[in-house]
Amino acid sequence: MKKHMILLALLMMTSAFTGCWDAIEIDQRGYVMSLGIDKYEIPPPGKSEEGNSPEEEAAVPTMAHIPEDNPRNRFSFTYVIPNVEFLVGESENPNILYNTVGENLYSASRILTTRINKQVFFGHMKVLVIGETVARDPDMLREVLDAIERDQFISRRISVAIAPDTARGVLEVEPLINPMTGQFMADLFRNKDRSPRSGGGIMGDVFEELHRWGNTVIPRVIPGEEDIKVAGSAVIKNYRLIGWLGEVETRALEIIRGTARPGGLTVKHQGKDEEHIVPIDLIYLSSEFKLDKTSDKIRVIKEVKTTGEVKQFILDPHQDLMEPQLIRELEALVCEKIKKEMKETIRKLQEEFQVDVLGVDHYLSKYHPKLWPEVEEDWDEVFPHIEINVDVETKIRRVGLTK
């Protein structure tokens, strides 16, 4: 009887502890912190000799040879893997950069394992940087985005950004303040709380908008010498990058979309005999569309409400900030400035890009389901001709510590 029990226990153990199939030791995994995706272009001849630019030397030599021009070599992927040895102080290089070319993300990552002694693991990826060339090709963009969404380990909370020029160029930068590029960029995205100058850039949100009608905006990431900047945004129309919005335009767009984070705005106040520069810290409270039903043309009104605090006026002013009249004047200035920026951005999107990333389509489909089916089919043609008015209401609540 006892023998049987032991046998049974053994049998149970062998079948119950099967998770060991998937056991991988932690140091056997190459954690990809950020991934850059570019279109592969054959480097101009002669570049292979002078490939030892300072950035490339900082990174561990990545490519054994220049890959040939092959129809399989469509993408160029840059993997940033943090160097564990750097963390414990045994190495100079904070990041290990691998670059590989391939037909798709999956096979390129598999081929990469022939070159490193670790398993490439995307489960802790923080940032995806897409190069402009890929973003301008709708098929390639859809391919890589699908690979990202389909993967069961890549979180929907990762940040995504588009780099003018190449993604590799961004990832090769080692920021002074934190040389771990992947972590730095992830923090940068989290940190944007104080500035609305770039979009949210959360992968899941981008997917949601793309699944809807194929249009969205994705933050732009710009490499510097020793820093990286996330500002401005790329406008995606029908899964294709069609243009860029600058920082101010992006702020206006974010206000319209209702996703703007708190941020500042500076107005010039003309006093009796002097002009003051007045920066105001603003919180964007609400942003709502209203459909004007009185006209037979589609006319929507965007209503934005903000509240703020004066951050600077001038030392010993003639007219101090405890006068409500002055506050009203400042409020009017802020409203006017926001309005102007918003109108300019709307004009650009309607006339230049002809793409609705403002969310008018989403608003109409949700709140006016009778009207929407009539225009849904050719919304791309309708959108540039609809009338969008803006209406801003600002309340300055606080002025700081002095009068």
Binding site: S15, G123, H124, Q152, S155, H211, R212, P369
Partner: protein, 369 residues
């Protein structure tokens, strides 16, 4: 300590029904609701729930009319013995067939999310063996197990939903009342099927300690499941938006993947979801399995169903790996339930009901004669 007298209380029966209903369907429900009726899926759910309550009430009525009688006995009394054998076999096929689909979905999902390198057989086999173990112990242990599990389970589920609302956009629930009523009515049978599982009452009814209250079981259980489904559908829609939900195979899991706990050391909250879900799947499998074994015992004769608990296991295991791909699984599951569920849930009880009425009338006639 606990006398094993093979009785379940009403509350145990309710929890068993709830846990049987909540199983693999919840993973795909929001997507399918959008496919059926867009953002008006909640109306379909309510109508389907009401339909299911009506059907389960008749199930309860049947149990109430034959207190202490097993399903097979009820079938034999009302529809004669030969038919009872056929229908009993039909019900067994239904219960174990559905169970094998549950097992298959479980295996696929675990392989996808948790153990990508592990052969699916080794995911399926252990849970089958554990189910068989619980089945051996019978209905009373199952009832206690259900009662123990449901409280922490509901707590975790509610907490997870709360966490997911951080990213919710309530206006995603709009527009409402836009789907043509004909389309909604057409979708009701689908919604009714998303409540499948309440029919275990038919098989377990004979074990109830108060069969007089059998009519309550289904409606109460379905009401709770309806609440859960509405919460689930609303959460998924608000977090993911209808267009995205339509594209995802398992939108429920994607919803939880958007949860981010700032400052927490845990990065992927969906692991908790999977852990919780393993329990619900287990509790979906066991009642179906037990129901099948009990019927097998009665059909083949015998006093103790535990002898039969391992018998269907190889068949379930083979059936559960029968379909090639995930696409085949969902397609053949649809076909299988079309052929069996209507019969087991609607037609057979209807037959019993008619026979019951005929018998009653005959009795009255006899009495008057």
């Amino acid at each position: 300590m606990f006398p094993n007298n093979d009785k379940v209380t009403v509350s145990q029966m309710v929890t068993i029904s709830i846990l049987t209903m909540v199983g693999i369907g919840i993973l795909t429900l929001p997507r399918e609701l959008i496919g059926e009726a867009g953002t008006d899926g909640w109306m379909v759910l309510i109508l389907g729930g009401l339909g299911a309550i009506a059907v389960s009430f008749t199930h309860g009525y049947i149990i109430k009319s034959f207190p202490g009688k097993s399903y097979f006995e009820i079938l034999s009394i009302t529809l004669t013995k030969p038919i009872a054998y056929i229908l009993g076999l039909y019900t067994i096929i239904y219960l174990l067939g559905i169970m094998s689909y549950v097992v298959r979905t479980f295996g696929m999902t675990v392989k996808e999310f948790l153990l990508p390198e592990t052969p699916p057989e080794f995911v399926i086999l252990p849970i089958l063996l554990v189910s068989a173990y619980l089945v051996r112990k019978g209905i009373e242990v199952l009832g206690r197990m259900a009662e123990i599990i449901i409280v922490p389970l509901s707590a975790v589920i509610v907490i997870l939903f709360f966490l997911s609302w951080r990213n919710a956009e309530v206006s995603n629930l709009l527009p409402v009342f836009q789907t043509p009523s004909l389309q909604i009515i057409k979708a009701v049978p689908f919604a009714l099927f998303s409540f499948l599982g309440f029919e275990v009452l038919l098989v377990f009814g004979g074990f109830m300690d108060k069969p007089k209250k059998a009519t309550r079981v289904g409606p109460i259980a379905i009401f709770f499941v309806l609440l859960l489904y509405q919460l689930l559908n609303a959460s998924v829609l608000t977090v993911l938006g209808s267009h995205q939900t339509e594209r995802l195979i398992w939108p429920l899991l994607a919803t939880f993947r958007t949860i981010e706990l700032p400052g927490a050391f845990i990065e992927n909250v969906e692991i908790f979801v999977m852990a919780v879900w393993v329990f619900t799947v287990f509790m979906t499998m066991v009642p179906l399995y037990l129901g099948g074994c009990l019927l097998m015992m009665e059909l083949a004769g015998g006093k103790d169903h535990s002898y039969y608990s391992l018998l269907p296991l190889p068949f379930i295991a083979v059936l559960s790996v029968w379909d090639d791909s995930i696409a085949d699984v969902y397609e053949s599951l649809g076909k299988f339930s079309d052929y069996t569920a209507y019969g087991v849930v609607l037609l057979v009880p209807l037959g019993i009901l008619i026979a019951l009425l005929v018998r009653k009338r005959k009795k009255n006639e006899d009495r008057t004669a």
